[in-house]
Symmetry: C2
Subunit: 328 residues, 2 copies
């Protein structure tokens, strides 16, 4: 197990480190990349060599995090992970580092303690909130470039301050980053106002399949594989579309059925506002997840049958919820 | 013209006031109502009589701002406006107060100076930011109820911290309001995660009409009156739909053509990201507005002709922009 360290201890460790590899998680998002590049820029400001590594290519929309990538090759003397809860999330290409991680900087309560030292803040909405405090503790000035990186992680992991994970500390961090020169206009345009044409087309198809069930308390949507493929939509974009049914007035349970790449079955995503238990709905069908978001899979091609089973489990959960509400 | 007052002077004035009417603007939004009800709760906490007045009924989704409305009738000794730039915005029902307004609390640089005293902060993204500081200056404790009201204005006027008007101060205000107990989960659900079925249906129809023009730099959408009426969509919701074309990748100019209620013409909304000048596009067609959002109207029923003229003006503006970019 890792040795837990304080912000101050982690800062002292990094200030004494040389030739740092910063590992991000696979299928990288704004928070792991923002954390990684912010730390890289901070370490370089201290005159150190530092590089960010990722199993997958950096998505083009995050290219601004490292506007002048140079591929300085060096061997690491120090290995750090950011926003990585478990070494399996490093992906195949970075597995060779799994046993030599000096410091893990993370905000997942589920961190498996794989690193020698662990700097953890499980109640942070974004890992970038923690990295901000760390960089300040290292005595590094917040440049606009660092502010852009940290704001990116903060804004993506909090859904631009909409998700319920957002705390007063998230806003305190945003205040500092804007003062340090984070370019909100440009970041927001890249992250939140740039839907692909394919996503728009798939959204239309998905919304056309919308059905209201169980007196309007449940809404369902189907994403067929041909339509997904035709529109070249990424998994990231699919997640956004899956959130739609629950956002409709009166809907307590939003369900999205997504056909497998193999066409041999369906992935089911269930979203609720947390009052109805999504994980119980999916648990009954062999899946699981959180109270507000859960999933399960069906290895059958009969869509009607999948639909029937899912709806049956939703009905059971709504009935249990009603009994509970009535007994209060 | 009004006498400009400081936060402290406005606080002293309100602490000495009795029987306060707080006037909001017509077609009320979250910021005018949040400002009004927060101030009402604060004044009542000081043992005063206070009431919020509005030309229009309070929309149901804002009912939580005043969960126990009581219609205590009293005659005002003091009249205050919140988030009102001009007395015409009070609406017909409140016009009788237009000449007797003691204090205007506003964040519009365009405030016409109609009140005796004016507390203005033109760089505030939301008027509620100013009201927060005012309530603190009055020495009133921020209750969760007041925090809910102020957070509502802050979140609606900043588009939940997405609009470019958002500043470090907006986040500082959010931090305080969350610490004071603002119920983010419930407010976000009401304001941002409750699309009407009608809006969803109209969005699908609108997106089906989507056309990409001028090499994908312009996207257009048409909202036909029958479809709007069938789905019972409000003007507020229409604004949200009109924002969609511009949010597509590569689109610099988003255009929405909306058929009149009379069926005798079209209202055209043009949105850009501010690099291309929307007001110039609409100005050429007899309309106007801001650089990022402008509009114009056509009193003709021939949709193709409207489309041709609008597209022609967009083309001219894009060409001018290109020349400008090339000359830099």
């Amino acid at each position: 197990m890792s040795q837990p360290v304080t912000l101050q201890q982690a800062a002292v460790f990094l200030c004494g480190a040389q030739d740092v590899f910063i590992l991000t998680h696979k299928a990288p998002d704004g928070d792991t990349l923002g954390s990684g590049f912010a730390l890289m820029h901070a370490l370089r400001q201290l005159g150190k060599r530092a590089a960010v590594l990722c199993n997958d290519p950096i998505p083009a929309r995050f290219a601004y995090l490292d506007p002048h990538p140079d591929d300085q090759s060096f061997l690491p003397q120090t290995v750090v992970t950011v926003d990585v809860a478990d070494t399996t999330l490093l992906g195949d290409k970075l597995q060779s580092y799994a046993d030599q991680i000096d410091l893990s900087i993370d905000h997942h309560g589920s961190n498996t303690g794989f690193a020698e030292k662990l700097l953890l803040r499980a109640d942070a909405a974004a890992n970038c909130e923690l990295v901000l405090d760390l960089i300040e503790a290292m005595g590094v000035a917040l440049t606009p470039q660092i502010a852009d990186c940290l704001y990116t992680g903060l804004a993506t992991d909090t859904g631009c301050f909409r998700h319920t994970s957002t705390t007063a500390d998230s806003h305190r961090a945003a205040e500092k980053l804007i003062q340090a020169g984070a370019d909100l206009r440009s970041i927001h345009r890249r992250l939140f106002e740039s839907e692909s044409r394919g996503k728009i087309a798939l959204t239309v198809a998905a919304l056309q399949s919308l059905r209201y069930e169980l007196g309007g308390r449940c809404a369902t949507m189907v994403l067929m594989r041909d339509c997904i493929n035709q529109n070249g939509v990424t998994d990231d974009e699919l997640e956004g579309i899956s959130a739609l049914p629950r956002q409709i007035e009166g809907v307590q349970v939003g369900v999205t059925l997504r056909q497998y790449k193999s066409y041999r079955g369906y992935k089911v995503s269930v979203r609720t506002d947390g009052r109805v238990d999504a994980s119980a709905i999916c648990g009954r069908l062999g899946g699981g997840g959180h109270r507000g978001a859960a999933g399960c899979t069906f290895e059958i091609t009969d869509l009607d049958e999948v639909y029937r089973q899912v709806l049956d489990s939703v009905r059971q959960e709504l009935e249990q919820q009603e009994k509970l509400d009535a007994s209060l």
